[in-house]
């Protein structure tokens, strides 16, 4: 399927889901929980572009997410910017920082790159904590006022619709990256960077594209976060859980295909939402951990890899 067709279908599906659920579902809990799951779809998809397609493990997802969130806070403080402008600026800022970080750190590989991303998150956290304009350590409030736009009943419904569109957009971008020559280049880097370089793959340029797109999408996910929560403080937005989930979800779904992070995020994110209100939090964390261990040992290439392998075995030779 052509990228343009896939993108159109993905966006139309998102619009259809948002429209249908808004008309049929009356409780806001559905939208609130779904918003969180879709937020992880965007984050996991974004992480996978650099981590899965390119083979560079990023532990700084929370920092890019926070960049998006704090861009929205700055714009809100400056002139109460509309949410669409906040999303665009959050994406742009995180993409630019991704480009810059990539330029500085992509000479590092493996565990050294991972540590550099972790350090980047820490540096950004310290910067935000000491930046009083965005609330510093005390945090900042973004209060949505008036009636929700576009005839939505509540703000959470509106935010869910936006997140659904963003998730569809992120998945379309990931699929485009995977199926284009860019994706082939990234796969070559992942498999053997030296061989790729020797074969004429412009590795640095492709890796920079990868960090930029990945960072930008993470920033996009974070841009709506202050509107969802109304209150953002550094410890919450830089929480390690964003970094851990961004890695765990593609790991469970499968890292070599655009669909892997989507499956992982829907499964793990959905499971977390269900367990949070039905089982104690201790069990919630235990089950998530157990699931990770099971997948890493039994299906190291995630659900996508496992089903692909089973399909190949079942096929007659």
């Amino acid at each position: 399927m052509k990228t343009s067709s896939f993108t159109a279908i993905a966006l139309c599906t998102a619009l259809l889901v948002a429209g249908t659920t808004s008309a049929l579902v009356t409780n806001d809990y559905f939208f609130s929980a779904s918003y969180t799951v879709l937020q992880f779809v965007v984050l996991a998809t974004a992480w996978n572009i650099l981590g899965g397609f390119t083979g560079y493990v990023n532990f700084g997802s929370a920092a890019f997410f926070a960049l998006g969130a704090y861009s929205s806070i700055v714009l809100d403080k400056l002139f109460e910017a509309p949410i669409t402008l906040s999303i665009l600026s959050g994406t742009a800022v995180a993409a630019l920082v991704g480009l810059g970080m990539g330029y500085l750190t992509l000479r590092l590989r493996g565990v050294f790159f991972a540590i550099a991303t972790l350090a980047f998150a820490e540096v950004l956290f310290t910067f935000v904590v000491n930046w009083d304009y965005v609330g510093g350590a005390r945090g900042a409030y973004v209060v949505l006022q008036g009636r929700p736009p576009l005839g939505f009943r509540s703000f959470v419904q509106f935010l869910f619709a936006i997140m659904a569109l963003m998730a569809a957009g992120a998945v379309a971008i990931a699929r485009f990256v995977q199926t284009s020559t860019l994706g082939l280049g990234l796969a070559a880097i992942r498999d053997d960077e030296v061989a790729a370089e020797c074969s004429g793959v412009p590795t640095l340029r492709l890796k920079l594209v990868s960090t930029t797109v990945s960072g930008g999408l993470m920033g996009m996910a974070g841009a709506t976060f202050p509107y969802f929560l109304s209150y953002v403080e550094p410890h919450g937005v830089f929480s390690l859980s964003y970094a851990v989930n961004s890695i765990a979800m593609p790991l469970i779904g499968g890292m070599y295909d655009w669909a892997g992070p989507v499956i992982g995020a829907l499964l793990l994110g959905g499971l977390q939402q269900v367990l949070q209100v039905n089982v104690s939090a201790d069990w919630n964390l235990f089950l998530v951990g157990a699931l990770l261990v099971v997948f890493v040992t039994i299906a190291p290439h995630g659900i996508m890899g496992w089903t692909f392998r089973r399909g190949r075995r079942a096929r007659p030779t």
Partner: protein, 413 residues
């Protein structure tokens, strides 16, 4: 005849209790930090709230309906809060909501309470309503209408009783929401007292070695050292002050953690001389109606569940919060959020933490944070802390049980 009386009474009692049981339960919903950084306190608060529900149910319920607490663990993670409150309101259909513990988890719930026009009683937030200005918001921490200033005022008012009056101060705190709020309030009070600030710095939450910080403070030789900290750093700073043998006239502040049995027993004699913010102390001047009975019931339950065995900090306030909600609902006679909020605004409540009246912004109309000085702690046992004389109340004057002993370095041991 004599044998029939008890059976008639029993039947009547049974009928009354059956009618309460037969009624649809009155559901009170909240998220609570049962795990995560504030999990210990959250569980202690939950126990107090369960005790209240049990007390009310024993008396036949509220509005003739048995109380049922519906709660979920927010894991001390603000991102979980909107989902949990929408679940409580939309799926569980709770009649009333109250909050989890702390500003970070209260703030994300306020917009939801506002959208649904719910009366919202909250537990220990440092003025999260300042931005929302929600007129059905209430808060039970006793810092007064300007919480950050009220929280720290006592420390400096106590200091200004010294002769000669202090002239200089060092301010230090963690890079986090609460310490920053406390430091902001402290700066206002420092200015009002005309003190010169010699040191005003914050440290990252990941700090583990506080000796360099205390040494840097010592180098400026301040008359007062004010600390705004969270439990791990409160312990670290008190230890460092003892190791470095900090020389100053008054040391302490709004240090979270020293109110809990864990830190009280862990630090023991190291706390001697420290002037700290407390919300309850077992002093003869602090006789709130029912608080001693509450603690007598709470302490064995808490010990069995391995929670804060003293319960001086959060539990009485969690219980009081529910008492206020219950009393307001009883007086209104039905679940009418506007009328309940109006009732809470217009009445004074007698609770286990004393008489409470709320200001327009939902904070206590008249603050009553206590500043105590720890004294005469000899060991690391729990029993000492249950007796009067070890947490001498210095401020406010109405609850005072002793005078400040100073300088700190001479009363440290």
């Amino acid at each position: 005849m004599d044998r029939r009386h008890p059976s008639v009474a029993a039947a009547l009692a049974l009928a009354v209790s059956f009618s309460a049981v037969a009624q649809e339960p009155l559901k009170i919903g909240f998220s609570m930090s049962l795990t995560g950084p504030l999990g210990g306190n959250g569980r202690a608060a939950l126990l107090a709230m369960q005790m209240w529900a049990e007390d009310v149910n024993t008396k036949g319920g509220l509005l003739g309906r048995p109380i049922r607490l519906v709660y979920y663990d927010d894991q001390t993670n603000p991102a979980n809060v909107p989902g949990l409150y929408t679940k409580l309101l939309d799926i569980d259909k709770v009649d009333l909501i109250v909050s989890s513990y702390g500003t970070n988890v209260i703030a994300p719930a306020i917009p939801i309470a506002m959208q649904r026009k719910m009366a919202f009683m909250t537990l220990f937030g440092t003025n999260p309503n300042a931005k929302f200005k929600y007129d059905r918001y209430f808060q039970i921490m006793p810092n007064g209408p300007d919480p950050a200033v009220g929280l720290t005022k006592g420390f400096f008012e106590v200091a200004m009783t010294m002769d000669p009056k202090p002239k200089t101060v060092a301010l230090v705190g963690a890079d986090a929401e609460y310490p920053h709020a406390a430091l902001e309030g402290a700066r206002t009070n420092v200015k009002a007292a005309g003190l010169q600030v010699l040191y005003d710095k914050t440290y990252p939450m990941s700090t583990t070695d506080f000796t360099p910080i205390v040494r840097a403070i010592q180098a400026t030789n301040p008359d007062l050292v004010f600390v705004a900290s969270y439990p791990p750093d409160s312990a670290g700073i008190v230890r460092a002050a003892n190791e470095v043998a900090l020389k100053t006239r008054q040391f302490g502040g709004a240090m979270i953690g020293v109110q809990y049995a864990t830190l009280k027993t862990q630090l023991g004699p190291l706390l001697n001389g420290v002037v700290a913010w407390e919300v309850y102390a077992p002093e003869p001047t602090i006789k709130f109606p029912g608080v001693e009975e509450f603690l007598a019931r709470y302490q064995p339950l808490a010990a069995a569940q391995q929670l804060d065995p003293l319960g001086f900090f959060l539990p009485p306030y969690a219980y009081a919060m529910m008492q206020i909600v219950g009393e307001a609902v009883q007086r209104v006679g039905k679940i009418d959020q506007a009328k309940i909020a109006e009732d809470i605004h217009s009445h004074e409540f007698t609770t286990v933490v004393g008489n409470v009246r709320f200001a327009k912004n939902g904070e206590w109309a008249e603050g009553r944070p206590l500043y105590v000085q720890y004294r005469g702690i000899r060991g690391n046992g729990l029993e000492e802390w249950k007796k009067p004389g070890h947490e001498v109340v210095l401020w406010p004057a109405r609850w005072k049980s002793g005078d400040l002993l100073h300088p700190y370095d001479q009363h440290r041991k």
